[in-house]
Symmetry: C2
Subunit: 135 residues, 2 copies
């Protein structure tokens, strides 16, 4: 099975809690306190603790990977960080939802346009990937 132009992909959902941000901090090495300290985040004028932009992007990438066939290869991926993801201080956190539309891309590749939202609001803009289809 391979990714086919015309396919509607997802939705894939990922909860994001503050614990996930702490885990991501450890793995990525990005320990900026705006991603785990309410005090620091609000002191610098943010509405609350924010998810790392690259974590949001990684989850969108994970949805994307889950839609690929075993021999499909992700060739490129790019996003705009259009709206920060504020993560509340509770066990539920927020739900990131990712959907995609596959179309014919250049040179036999498949283009995927992703829509990445939290509570219906887009958090990534111009989220696009190219996939080299396998057999």
């Amino acid at each position: 099975m391979t990714l086919t132009p015309g396919a509607d992909l997802g939705p894939s959902q990922f909860p994001i809690t503050r614990a996930d941000l702490v885990r991501y901090a450890g793995a990525s090495g990005d320990f900026n306190p705006i991603h785990w300290s309410e005090r620091v985040a609000t002191d610098v004028g943010l509405p609350g603790v924010l998810a790392h932009g690259m974590f949001t992007m990684a989850l969108a990438g994970r949805a994307l990977s889950s839609w690929l066939g075993p021999d499909d290869r992700l060739v490129s991926f790019g996003v705009r960080f259009s709206k920060p993801v504020v993560v509340p201080d509770d066990d539920a956190g927020v739900a990131l939802e990712v959907t995609g539309v596959a179309t014919e891309g250049e040179e036999g590749r498949v283009r995927v346009d992703l829509t990445v939202t939290v509570a219906g609001e887009k958090v990534l803009g111009q989220a696009r990937a190219e996939v080299a289809p396998g057999a």
Copy 2:
């Protein structure tokens, strides 16, 4: 201090070991065994255990963040996954090196072109970001 067009950025270096990949698997939820099992990786024809593409991208993003001033904001980021990063089964792993060149972008933004290499070979292509400069 803010990111200024004309600046040469880096080099920033990040070691990548198999333990880092296991940590990233836990944080990202991507437990594909090609990122931790030599047996599975070689069975599917790969030269060895590969770093998650999104992890390589996250480390490039971390270098990028370290070059920004406190009020600069990362607006967009995109890469091509041009060459897989093979991570050997030892304590040293590989060293990812990231450098960047800042130039004037559109609408007052700063464009950063990143060069991301392992042992002198490019592993990400067309790695580009846009930054909205702060005060």
